[in-house]
Amino acid sequence: MKTQADKHIQRLSFKLALLAFLMFMFCLFVLPPLYQLFCEVTGLNGKTSNQAYIAKQDIVDHSRNITINFIAVSHNNHIWTFSAPEQSLVVHPGQITTTKFRVENTSGRWIAVQAVPSMVPINATNYFNKTECFCFNRQILAPGEQSDLGLQFIVDSELPKAIKSLTLSYTLFDISEASSKEIQAEQQHRIGLNLSRVDNLITLPNASEQNTEGNAYGR
């Protein structure tokens, strides 16, 4: 037998539980995309776009000199060395510029790395257009392999006048564990094309064995 008061309590409790559930869903499914969107629009977290910019015919503004500093940050730097040979460049807005970052896999295994960009000042973030970047994709490196990673960019001529220099940093993260399939595909690919150096070919079976072991451990 339910009284009127019991019904009120039930209805209210149900509403409150629903509110709690909605807050949980909001936190899990709305907040993170909202945050990403907010950061993309405002560039507030210093992340430059991870989409290739389609270069349009732009007038090079020779009246402005923009200094661009490059920083290479390594996490787990016992696995690789990562550096920016050209520490800084002076460019004009609208000018297509190419530079390189250098990475060397100093470990004895195949690795996959992902570069994550960050830029200051943050209000320059949305004016730094990359037409080509190694950061768009994961990079797979054979044991001992050294590689020059290319970056091609155009500083937008709309860049706020107050900005005279900007700093772009790339941090490399080890994503080998999550990329075992891609690493194997790359190994097959290189054997097929015979692109690898001879000594690399010799170490290949061994390296892939190590890699499987690593995965088994990871799981």
Partner: protein, 515 residues
């Protein structure tokens, strides 16, 4: 209907009685208070001198983490829920809580959560060691395996708090005695109503953030992993969106307790009742828009720093209204200084000091200097220890005679107060100085520059710990051999809870009282 409690252990396991459940909450939080206190003493013992003497740095980090988690979720929050369970039905003239069986459940899942959390100490890799704020990626990529157990424990605590909050709101909104309008409710009821809404709004966010951690650790998502396109700063935003309302969850019920005690011992009605209600509601609202003042140093744009800085300072206004009202209630009152009143006055003074250091921290440019130093530790211990802990202690002394029908020993209680008051200030006041001198938080070893302040802090901590052992002794002594208390207990205490017998009968207000 007039039957007593069931015999044996079944009384406690299957009880749906708000008084039994309140008692269990209070004893549980008391036990957790001692566990968390023990961990704090390990920290203070290690910091007594520079250098590593007693524990390894890894274990030290586990101690700071567990101390924070247990004090916040195990001691302070369950103590206030316990007070709510005991007192809300008595204060509004209800026979019990609105959802008695859920009430039982929301208590009984807590011991499991905390057994798991404390059990992580014995797991391979040790207990969580990333601080109570568990910032990612420290708590995801670099965490010990026990982090999964920690996440599960947090989920259970969150479920318990949400169920408790639903119960409290349903009770207050539906079960008031006829004539008890909203603006006639005691302030403890009001502050708990607002706190319960805060809990329902933010505990799911806590559950969400640990769920995201769980998915990052085990299911390959990248919410907080920069390599996979996530952002560690997102963690801080979500955590503090929960974390800032959480600190008000720990202090608003305290405001209610103090607003009940000061009028009794000043023998004057509370000054500015309605302004107290509105101030509490404004503090609750503001708590949702200030979270980023915990993260001034993450690299926010100037506009963000300014918005969060001014919003934070705005909180001083309603808080100032409250402090003003308490002081004005005491003004020209016929005051007496029994233990609950001593703790309440100490609350008003010391909480205000904590509020001032909070204002200093709210100044964004100054915060860059104070960030992550012992100054912050001093600040939040000044608002939580004399804030939450002192108000709970005051509430226990104030209502203990009603709960067990016996009067505590006033001399012992005053001794407890003075030892705790002196111990607390010796412990936490020097932390302001070591912090301003640059001592970082969460370090087991430190520059000898800060040695003197740390030694003083450690001595104070052991004094404060001793005071709490005395508190336990006083409570036990009261239950077993206190002299009988009258129904009224305090000369000019007002409210429905004093209209029932002491000790409060197992069932009260089966017939709604006349107001």
């Amino acid at each position: 209907m007039a039957h007593g409690p069931a015999p044996g252990i079944g009384r406690w396991l299957f009880t749906t009685n708000h008084k039994d459940i309140g008692t269990m909450y209070l004893w549980f939080s008391f036990a957790m208070f001692f566990v968390g206190g023990l961990f704090a003493l390990v920290i203070r013992a290690e910091l007594f001198e520079p250098g590593l003497q007693i524990v390894e740095p890894e274990f030290f980090n586990q101690m700071t983490t567990l101390h924070g988690l247990i004090m916040v979720f195990g001691a302070v929050m369950p103590a206030f829920v316990g007070l709510a369970n005991w007192m809300l039905p008595l204060m509004i003239g209800a026979p019990d809580m609105a959802l008695p069986r859920m009430n039982n459940w929301s208590f009984w899942i807590l011991p499991f959560a905390f057994s798991m959390l404390i059990g992580t100490l014995f797991m391979p890799g040790g207990a969580p060691n990333f601080g109570w704020t568990f910032y990612a990626p420290l708590s995801t990529t670099y965490a010990p395996p026990s982090v999964t157990v920690f996440i599960f424990a947090v989920h259970i605590m969150g479920a318990s708090s949400i169920m408790g909050a639903i119960n409290i709101i349903a009770t207050i909104l539906n079960m008031r005695a006829p004539g008890m309008s909203m603006m006639k409710m005691p302030l403890f009821v009001w502050t708990w109503l607002i706190t319960a809404f805060l809990l329902i709004a933010v505990m799911p966010v806590l559950a969400g953030v640990v769920t995201m951690m769980l998915m990052d650790i085990h299911f390959g998502t990248s919410f907080f992993n920069a390599a996979g396109g996530g952002d560690p700063v997102l963690f801080q935003h979500v955590f503090w969106f929960f974390g800032h309302p959480e600190v008000y969850i720990m202090i608003l019920p305290a405001f209610g307790v103090i607003s009940a005690i000061i009028p009794t011992f000043a023998r004057k009605p509370l000054f500015g009742y309605s302004s107290m209600v509105y101030a509490t509601a404004s503090i609750a609202f503001l708590s949702f828009i200030v979270w980023a003042h915990h993260m001034f140093t993450v690299g926010m744009p100037l506009a963000g720093e300014l918005i969060f800085m001014y919003a934070t300072m705005l909180i001083a206004v309603p808080t100032g209204v409250k402090v003003f009202n308490w002081i004005t209630t005491m003004w020209r009152g016929a005051m007496t200084f029994e233990a609950p009143m001593l703790f309440s006055i100490a609350f008003v003074i010391l909480f205000t000091i904590g509020g001032f250091s909070g204002l200093m921290l709210a100044i964004a440019p100054a915060d860059f200097q104070y960030h992550d130093t012992y100054f912050v530790v001093a600040h939040f211990h000044y608002v939580l220890v004399p804030g939450a802990i002192f108000s709970i202690t005051a509430g226990v002394y104030y209502w203990l005679p009603k709960w067990c029908g016996k009067m505590y020993n006033e001399t012992l209680a005053k001794t407890h107060f003075w030892i705790a008051f002196i111990g607390l200030n010796i412990t936490f006041f020097p932390m302001h100085f070591s912090g301003l001198a640059g001592m970082p938080r969460r370090i087991p070893d430190y520059n000898p520059l800060w040695a003197d302040w740390n030694m003083i802090s450690s001595i104070g901590a052991f004094l404060f710990g001793a005071a709490q052992v005395l508190f336990l002794f006083i409570v036990i002594r009261t239950i077993f051999s206190g002299r009988p208390a009258s129904d009224q207990v305090w000369e000019s205490a007002e409210g429905l809870e004093w209209s029932v017998a002491s000790p409060a009968p197992y069932h009260t207000f089966i017939k709604a009282p006349e107001i």
